[in-house]
């Protein structure tokens, strides 16, 4: 009744407007249909349904299906063009028993929440997923726990969905025998937030997608990347944590990616890095923390990217420029206690490294303007030599290397002449 009252109040308010009649009709229609919607209950005993698929088949658009506590051995549950709301409670488990997909959906305006799905079939030919969405708009996947997932959510040609507070994990042993936790293909305007994805191949994978937002996710212990962009322009990821993956984030062949306030840490291994940029352009990277990675950022053919107010702490290499990168700007970043601040191949190509704080800087500031009076050279001779002759890394931490680094610092001979920070900061940047 309250709903009616408020509707009428709104109606009176908008009465004078031209569209008032149309709105009235719409609201009445909405409330009418709501009143008609049912909630179908599924459980093992004493319920209307004992199988989810049966309930789905019987439900009408707009109905809800409450999957009560219990283990349901079902697979390939298919929701075909019906706006349904599936929800469970604590202990509602769908056990696919390694027989294909969990739930397949091709529909708009639906939601799946509060469920546990486990044992997705592993296959080398099909991308079996716990939940597979195809051409779905306006959906919500929330608070779903996936265990022993091959693929977690496989979402294709969809848009305007919310994927939040899910917990997705696999037990993959190798890259080939495992899939991605959240895999987006040709999808746009999705919001992926507050998910915890781990022990998969890629935590989150996105290909041919745009205007998606990834926020507050934790992606850790994945075999390949925590987050992986391919051919996806105009996306943003913020406030995520990428930890202990083979590589934190890989951004490849994409434009205008915004990356801010993420934490990349402990991505540590022979070929590991926090962030890999490959053939990308026009991005913003700010307020991120790169800590304890073998390499903080590897930039390979990345152009016009602004890096500012990031912290690089205790990495093997803070930043590695492999080549073909133009017009990148590093400013107001903190480089703290990295083994190598910068490894650089090729020409300078208009990349600039001015006004950063470098913990290795030993210059002075006589005029007290908080900029060091002596330029800082972020490329040490040893890192230059390692670039030229990779085997020479074996002299890491030997006295000889300390000596040549020091002499190069005093009188530079080998390292690129222009590669300097002309205005190194005297104190750390606060951001």
């Amino acid at each position: 009744m309250n709903l009616w009252k408020s509707s009428i109040r709104i109606v009176i308010k908008v009465d004078r407007m031209k569209s008032s009649f149309f709105l009235l009709c719409l609201i009445i229609a909405l409330n009418f249909s709501y009143a008609q919607n049912r909630t179908l209950e599924v459980c093992a005993k004493d319920c209307e349904f004992t199988s989810i698929q049966q309930a789905v088949d019987q439900a009408k658009a707009g109905d809800s299906i409450f999957i009560k506590k219990g283990v349901y051995k079902e697979h390939d549950i298919f929701i075909n063009r019906k706006s349904l709301h599936l929800y469970g409670e604590k202990g509602s488990i769908i056990d696919i028993d390694h027989k294909g997909y969990g739930i397949k959906v091709e529909a708009n305006d639906f939601s799946i929440t509060d469920l546990t799905i486990k044992n997705v079939e592993v296959s080398y030919t099909s991308d079996y997923a716990a939940i597979y969405l195809f051409k779905c708009d306006n959906f919500k996947l929330k608070n779903i726990t996936l265990k022993k997932a091959f693929f977690g959510f496989l979402i294709e040609k969809s848009s305007k969905g919310i994927i939040e507070e899910n917990d997705i994990s696999g037990i993959g042993q190798s890259e080939a025998s495992s899939g991605n936790a959240i895999h987006l293909w040709n999808s746009k305007e999705l919001e992926v937030r507050d998910n915890d994805v781990y022990n998969m191949r890629d935590g989150i994978y996105i290909e041919f997608g745009s205007n998606n937002v990834f926020e507050n996710n934790t992606s850790h212990d994945n075999m390949r990347y925590g987050l992986h962009f391919m051919f996806s322009d105009d996306n943003r990821y913020s406030y995520n944590t990428f930890q202990n993956n083979s590589a934190g984030v890989a951004v490849m062949f994409s434009k205008r990616i915004q990356m801010n306030n993420n934490v990349f840490k402990k991505n540590w291994g022979t070929a590991s890095y926090g962030l890999l940029l490959k053939e990308i352009s026009d991005g913003e990277i700010y307020h991120n923390t790169f800590e304890n990675n073998t390499t903080g950022i590897t930039a390979d053919g990345s152009t016009r990217i602004n890096y500012y107010e990031n912290d690089f702490i205790n990495n093997g290499y803070a930043v590695k420029f492999i080549g073909g990168s133009y017009k990148n700007k590093f400013y107001k970043n903190n480089f703290l206690y990295n083994n190598f601040d910068l490894s650089y191949s090729g020409r300078l190509n208009n990349n600039s490294f001015d006004t950063n704080y470098w913990s290795d800087y030993t210059g002075y500031d006589l005029d007290n303007d908080n900029y060091g009076d002596v330029p800082y050279r972020p490329v040490k001779l040893f890192s230059y030599l390692v670039n030229e002759t990779p085997e020479s890394i074996i002299l890491l931490r030997s006295l000889f290397v300390d000596i040549i680094n020091f002499s190069e610092k005093v009188t530079p001979v080998f390292t690129p002449k222009n590669l300097t920070d002309q205005q190194p900061l005297m104190s750390e940047v606060q951001w």
Binding site: N339, P390, L396, S398
Partner: protein, 260 residues
Amino acid sequence: MLKILKYSFFDLIRSRWSYVYFLFYLLLSSVLLFLNNDLSNAIITLLNVVIVLVPLIGTIFGVMYYYDSQEFTELLLAQPIKRKSIFLGQYLGVATSLSLSVLLGLGIPFALYGLFQSNVIFDFLILIVVAVFLSFIFSALAFNIALTNTNKIKGFGYAILVWLFLAVIYDGAFLIALIYFQEYPLDQFTLVATLFNPIDLSRILILLKLDISALLGYTGAIFKDFFGTIAGSLVSLGVLAVWVVLPLWRMLHVAKKKDF
């Protein structure tokens, strides 16, 4: 021999230099742990110090002790004692007292800090094993130098030179060779070149145990493949042992022939 060892050892233990050496390590590792608050980081920094300083102190101290105790040695030579016992005893006295300084100097702060509950205990153990080996190797080299040079100034000069060669010059030549021959496959060469220098070998043995080994990349992987196996560990320990035994053998040989 054990008696000579005992007297040399206690003579050194009572000397000011042993205390300075011990206190230096004690202070260093305490400060590192206090500042770093992290056992593993402290071990990396100690690695740098150990591979430079242990050989240096080992050579200098060995040469110094030999020259200092020359008179006592002559006194002993007239006694009914085998020559071998005298020199072996003195050498072992120096090497063990040096090792003990390092062991206690580094060990006490780490133990107090909770080393035994931590998972870096093996990294630390390898650091200690390496430090002990280096002490033995470089005091053996020092005795060799001192025995063949009656002139003290010359002896000290050669001692510094040997240290400089193994700690710095060798690596320089190594690096030049790597750059010069970079067109060729260098894996075997790097491995062998590392094995031949006890300082490099020690450094790599510790590095491979630490997280920092990830920086070694592909080359590191080859080293890990080699040193990771039991055979590789045995070979590396064997090489270190050879570095002790060979100078020792020469020392005894020279001592036997020498006129006093």
